[in-house]
């Protein structure tokens, strides 16, 4: 159930999660999860597949409602927001989707200009300049007139990043930003995340599986499993904290606290061997 929390988190915390409980299709995704995302830092959320990392991002943005608990973004409770309030809050949040989610009807320029056209009455020349500056920041000003289907995966992700930062948001959420990238594209994205964090002071939350990449960019790591934070700390040292969770996850062990077998009944009984049920 909902736990009482302070309605005015201290200034160093941008996102405060308390007692978050989510049950989807009978499966408990979060079981009274607590975590704080520090302001102005890069925070990584890691954990086994299906543990609810993307769901957590959706809770933070109000795309999904939790069964219980509270999420405060910049001191405001997301769960209690109306649609208009949610939309207002989202104007201050950038979200980088795993598959970039570029609008396929528009070219690169129009994709980045889309939020500006929807929410501002800026003159065309200003929109053009802003978009070109954002594309320059991600190194794709020359690709402004390409269509999304003409972009590589890494380029598409950088365009999506340009779109996410077009309003200079206070918070950027990256959903698996390193998946499927070659080493060059991976380093480009890593550099961009770090640069955006340092130059614009944007708070960043990234969901990722790649510890080496996370080590290069994140200030703090949360390891989530079984609906709770099972480990947290500095990304350079968390792998050696000795807990069975970190040992299995960062050591890549097939079996451990996260079982290899999906919960199932007795194998002999399932195969119909006589007397197996006894």
């Amino acid at each position: 159930m909902t736990q009482p929390v302070s309605q005015s988190p201290d200034d160093s915390t941008l996102v405060r999660v308390r007692g978050l409980t989510t049950v989807l299709n009978g499966k408990t995704i979060f079981d009274a999860l607590d975590l704080d995302i520090p302001r102005g830092k890069v925070t990584a959320i890691m954990g086994p597949s299906g543990t609810g990392k993307t769901t957590l991002l959706k809770h933070i943005t109000g795309q999904m409602r939790a069964d219980a608990g509270e999420i405060l973004v910049n001191g405001e409770n997301v769960a209690g927001m109306s649609r208009e309030q949610l939309y207002k809050m989202r104007e201050g949040i950038g979200y980088l989707f795993q598959n970039s989610a570029l609008l396929t009807d528009f070219d690169v320029f129009e994709n980045v200009a889309f939020p500006l056209r929807q929410h501002t009455q800026l003159p065309e020349v200003l929109i053009r300049n802003l978009v070109l500056l954002k594309l320059q920041a991600v190194g794709l000003r020359g690709a402004a007139r390409l269509m999304p289907n003409e972009l590589s995966g890494g380029m598409a992700r950088r365009v999506a990043l340009a779109r996410a930062i077009v309003f200079d948001p206070m918070l950027i959420l990256y959903d698996e930003p390193f998946v499927g990238l070659d080493p060059v594209a991976l380093n480009q994205v890593l550099k961009l995340i770090r640069t955006l964090n340092q130059t614009l002071g944007i708070t960043s939350v990234l969901v990722a599986h790649e510890l080496e990449a996370v080590k290069q960019v994140a200030d703090h790591v949360f390891l989530i499993a079984n609906g709770k934070v099972v480990a947290q700390g500095d990304p350079k040292t968390i792998a050696s904290d000795g807990s069975p969770w970190t040992r299995q996850f960062f050591g890549g062990e097939a079996d451990g606290p996260v079982p290899f077998q999906y919960p199932a009944g007795d194998l002999a009984q399932a195969l119909g061997f006589a007397g197996a049920a006894k």
């Binding site: 943005t61 795309q63 989202r90 989707f97 939020p115 929807q118 929410h119």
Partner: protein, 258 residues
Amino acid sequence: MNVREPQRNNVVTQSLAQIGACGLFLLTLLAAIPRSFRYVRETIRQLWFVGAMSLTIIMVCGLFVGMVLMLQLYHVLSIFGGTSASGMVVALSVYRELGPVVTALLFAGRAGTSITAEIGLMRATDQIDAMEMMAVDPIAYVATPRFLAGLIAMPLLCCVFCAMAIFGGHLVGVTWLGIDNGTFWSNMTAVVDVHTDIVNGVLFKSLAFGAVVSLIAVFQGFTTPPTSEGVAYATTRTVVASSIAILALDFVLTAFLM
């Protein structure tokens, strides 16, 4: 799981749930119409896509429907020596039934499926979620313009279909089979009533069919599971549900309007 299983397998329950969800979706859609006024350009773009791009199939099918209808009627009516009434019967059949119904069925196949597939793929590729995250209401930006475009396009397409069918009937009846041109037009104009046949038959029915087909297409697109298989099923459901709804609604409307 044991409790839900019978519900999933119950076709009646599932169908009623779908109809209920579709009704709620319609309310959401209607509520979003004022917000969608700022996306007039998107509505015009959709009008071009579902309306203008459907013109070829509507014109060709209208032409052949008129031609076949005249051919059949001529041979039947010639038994009774009533071939001069062929033009009149073609016009009444087309205005009252064939025009709106066949246009709606063609519209469901041509535009309805593409609307469903487009929205379904937008969902599968997170474009709808991306709009939500950019604080753009996808109902107002994606759904309502397509719904309104279908609503506006259908009566216009129906008018084109009817004109082409009459032209096809004239081509076969007058040019080929030798019915007198004056008789063809005078019988038609003497019998066709603007209110009963054109307003109720063509405009009112096609408006209703346009609303139903567009609603089903948009609803299926928005509720499809975001997978390739889900999109395939959704497009099929759009055609099946639209066809059934068109024919059932046609009976109800005809019963009330006659």
